[in-house]
């Protein structure tokens, strides 16, 4: 059955364009309506998730979002722990995305620094953060990215770091550009860096996106707006921090990550190898 369906045989990149190609004003209206609906439901006492899975303005979520509410369970032992990471897993140089080739990448060099915290504000040390992003022209190195912006031979756009004892991470990179996608007519993503983060427990695992302050594309973007509460959306936006800016070198942005959910208060084994 699925072997002969168009979806199964089509080239994957053809799946990226939404079939209906709505206008931006239609999408913006759908976003506003959904935000109003979730605000009403929350005011009526309903527990509204931080991110909405079924968010039709993001067209490719229509067939991928579960229709049932998640089953609420008590975590079992394994779910209360996280895979253990250490410097063994990641080379120090992997946190500098500007050093991966023989030349300097084009664009605005930035550092992004922040802390990985649990919801009690305790730093989470020795956990893995992965990042990936478009180059300064808004082009991903991924072969399915068909955006006709230049690739940068000196920029891949992927990095990793292990948080230090204070739960801090630091990446050096270049500021990514906004990029077009085919969710609707004239759809552009606000500039962002993808973050993949491990907490103390597998339940705390998070993949998210960090944005830059003052982006005019925020109200237009269905992905950013799949988070119904403004305060939660604001927390994905980094802050420009002049104290992190390095004279004659790079602009500094600060962004903290808070993971939530049940966790085991296990102590890290001592002695890094």
């Amino acid at each position: 059955m699925s072997d002969t369906s168009p979806a199964a045989t089509a080239a994957p990149e053809s799946l990226l364009a939404a079939p209906d190609q709505a206008t931006q004003s239609q999408i913006t209206q759908e976003i506003a309506d959904l935000h109003a609906e979730y605000a009403r439901r929350e005011a009526a006492g309903e527990q509204v998730p931080t991110t909405i899975h079924d968010f039709p303005p993001y067209r490719s979520s229509i067939l991928r979002a579960p229709t049932k509410n998640p089953k609420l369970v008590d975590p079992e032992t394994i779910e209360l722990y996280s895979p253990a990471f250490g410097q063994r897993d990641v080379a120090v140089i992997e946190s500098d995305l500007t050093l991966q080739h023989s030349g300097e990448p084009l664009g605005e060099r930035i550092t992004v620094r922040g802390r990985l915290l649990d919801s009690w504000g305790r730093p989470i040390a020795n956990q893995l953060i992965e990042v990936w992003q478009a180059n300064s022209a808004g082009r991903y190195i991924h072969q399915r990215d068909q955006h006709p912006a230049p690739l940068d031979p000196n920029f891949t756009g992927a990095g990793r770091v292990i948080t230090d004892d204070a739960g801090e991470y630091l990446f050096t990179t270049i500021k990514p550009g906004p990029y077009p996608w085919k969710n609707h007519i004239n759809a552009w993503r606000p500039a962002h860096i993808h973050f993949s983060v491990f907490g103390r427990a597998f339940t705390q695992r998070i993949v998210t996106q960090m944005y830059f302050p003052g982006d005019p594309l925020f109200p237009l973007d269905p992905i950013y707006n799949s988070i119904p509460r403004q305060a939660d959306r604001d927390r994905l936006v980094s802050a420009y921090d002049h104290d992190l800016t390095v004279p004659e070198f790079s602009m500094g942005y600060r962004w903290d990550i808070v993971v939530d959910g049940p966790d085991a208060t296990w102590s890290e084994e001592e002695g890094e190898h």
């Binding site: 998640p70 079992e76 990215d145 756009g157 993971v259 959910g261």
Partner: protein, 188 residues
Amino acid sequence: MAEKLPKTAGQTVGPFFAYGTVYPKMHEVVFPHSPGALVLAGTVRDGAGAPIPDAMVEIWSADADGSVPSARGAFRRDDHTFTGFGRAFTNDEGEYQFWVREPGAQAGRAPFFAAIVFARGLPDKLHTRVYLPAATPEQDAALGADALLSSLDPAERATLVATRQPDGGLRHDFRLQGEGETVFLAFR
């Protein structure tokens, strides 16, 4: 206690995660063909039953004796240390594949792989579990006594238990939406 900090919201992994999250031998939780190694594989499908070619599946499990792995090195595999963690991308047919060994559990508990599905078009992660199928009456009793499984109807329960293949491997599909929709989890 001070007021809790609000958590950072999740976002979709997007379409172009592969070059950012790939690493060598990421799907080899254990060394292929080592003693006890078997393949856990399946298809990720959408609400129309079509395979999802741009999903990322992660698993995390106890070792065969039920112990929680605490060894580092899941991202720099040495082919013998058991870290318990693996990651796989689906291919163009929506198939993922891991080399695993079967997790154990405390006596009377049902062992499972904790699993997370990410995908383009999925605004946030989805947690679920992949339970081992029962081969003995004791294992069957453990599955029956499991707090999650026993709270589900048979059709829902079937979405959480892997199927034994004739070659000894395990098969488990994830259906994100629609008929046979996988039971996804939120944690208390």
